[in-house]
Amino acid sequence: MLGYIVKRLGISLIIIFIVTVFSFSIIHILPGDPARIALGEEADQAAVDALRAEMNLDKPITTQYVLWIKGILHGDFGMSIVEHRPVSRIISERLPKTISLGVPALILSVSLGLLSGIISAIKRGKFVDQILTICTTLAVGMPEFWLGVFGIFLFGLKLHLLPIQGYTAPSADFTQFVRRAIMPVVCLAIHLIASINRHTRANLLEVINQDYVRTARANGIPERTVILQHSLKNALIPVITMIALQVRVVLGGSVIVEQVFNITGIGLLLKTAVGNRDYLIIQGCVLILSMITVGCNFVVDLLYGVVDPKIRESWR
């Protein structure tokens, strides 16, 4: 088990290293001189050079990388050229909003997706299964922004049931948070519910056709036990990997959803930063969001190794 953990940790660290190289190079491969962008076209060359020196842009590239990583390990992501505040502070203000919508979205999609997927598999080919299949097929093709706009139109503007925009922190006013979060969370979750449903159904059906399930049935074990105890455990393993991979989809979806509902989370921050060419913010956002994904995948991999000895073995 220890060997497995070390190997997985090693791989995660390599991935993080590649991501840092990518984030680091953002400032260098993208067009324009960051110092020039920060000071504007009219600034005189001496000031630009001074800022370049301050941002370490005049040093050799490897030195710059080392200095940059050192800064990040101390929580220093640099200064935003637009807001003139530390990037780390801006991100730490924005990130909780994104997470407070992303976590409910994940919980909603896992519970709804698993439940409907199991129902689909048990009632395979029946009316319920067909209805669910139609819904999930349509849901996969539904753009998140369009669902959001449609929801705003129907529930906000026509029926006046929900507020159309904005965000309230759950600690400030929980009911208001829930009312404002319902539509964004559903938009974030919609694709995920559908794909978890599809994966659960397909995997469960495959397991149900295995010999040991047939044997269990032949032994007269009740159908409920056959499904819940014998089949589900094996069917869920591939589904769990898939869910871990989807954390990134929820984080990516937040860019869209925060734009639609005007929520000042990290997704909207990134979109604005791209518009302003605020390179240090972009760097910080890419790094933080990727770290979250890598971290989640690592934890799931570990759980996985605990649940399934076969996977542990395959890493020897």
């Binding site: 590649i18 996969v140 706009v149 139109f153 869209i256």
Partner: protein, 284 residues
């Protein structure tokens, strides 16, 4: 009509063959609309007529006009061109790069293979829209930029698929036999391994068309990549947001187009998967 009759009809409709046929027809119609867009309407998608803005549906303008008096049907038809072209080209870019890198990573063990796979992992750890936003700064606006951006962000799935295929191919006796009679690596890859990758590759390609279109629509909605006044479905949803309460159809119609095409791509992909490579069921 009683309930059992409804159920029976559902079952007939639900036969995979029928659904695949319907999706195929939907796709063909959209492709046709995209190609013959100038014949369908007499307007230009850029032609403004401010005196006739927000016109209601009429014989002249079946879906009315938008805030600049541009014909909505025309913009939808020309939007189909952009969306279909962008998704097709970007999937091609992804497939070609992914195939080459996947073949290299799968066939040659060691550092190169590790490097390629870890880069794919790293790319997969960056959320999809985040990656496209950053890459769009590098490749700039316009169809070419969007094709490259979406293409590159779809590459990792191809690398992983091809890598897995090559590894399982390599275990086959005929590859061993080819090695034993002294065939070159190049020949083994091209003659023995590559052809066996194609069925799965076609399946993934078809499924990715929908993903690519969704990414393109999301980028256009955010106003990144293909920017106004070029007509795109995503852009049209975003442009009509301010008049949502008065003219909801202006936001709903382009969204419906996206949904129809993406769903059709997915169903077609499912059908192809079952026909070409049923082992991928539950994985893709």
């Amino acid at each position: 009509m009683n309930l059992s009759n409804v159920k029976k009809r559902f079952k007939v409709f639900f036969n995979r063959g029928v659904l695949s046929v319907i999706s195929f027809v939907v796709l063909l119609s959209f492709i046709l609309i995209a190609i013959i867009a100038p014949l369908i309407t007499k307007y230009s998608p850029y032609e403004q007529n401010v005196s006739n803005k927000y016109a209601a549906s009429s014989a002249e303008h079946p879906f009315g006009t938008d805030k600049l008096g541009r014909d909505i049907l025309t913009r939808l038809a020309y939007g189909a061109r952009i969306s279909l072209l962008a998704s097709l080209l970007s999937s091609l870019v992804a497939a070609v790069i992914g195939l080459v890198l996947g073949l290299i990573a799968g066939f040659f063990k060691g550092f190169i293979s590790q490097l390629i796979m870890r880069i794919a992992d790293a790319e997969l750890s960056i959320p999809p829209l985040v990656l496209t936003l950053v890459l769009s700064l590098l490749f700039g606006d316009g169809v070419f930029g969007v094709v490259m951006v979406i293409g590159i962000s779809l590459v990792p799935t191809y690398i992983r698929l091809v890598f897995g295929l090559v590894l399982s191919q390599k275990k086959n006796d005929y590859v061993l036999a080819a090695k034993l009679i002294g065939q070159s690596n190049r020949k083994i890859i091209l003659k023995h391994i590559l052809p066996n990758c194609f069925p799965s590759l076609i399946v993934l390609f078809t499924m990715n068309l929908g993903t690519a279109m969704m990414l393109e629509a999301s980028m256009s909605y955010l106003g990144i990549g293909i920017v106004p006044p070029t007509p795109t479905w995503g852009g049209m949803v975003s442009e009509s947001y301010e008049v949502l309460i008065l003219h909801p159809m202006q936001a709903i119609l382009p969204g419906l187009c996206i949904m129809l095409v993406v769903v059709a791509f997915n169903i077609l992909g499912d059908g192809l998967r079952d026909a070409l490579d049923p082992r991928l069921r539950g994985k893709l």
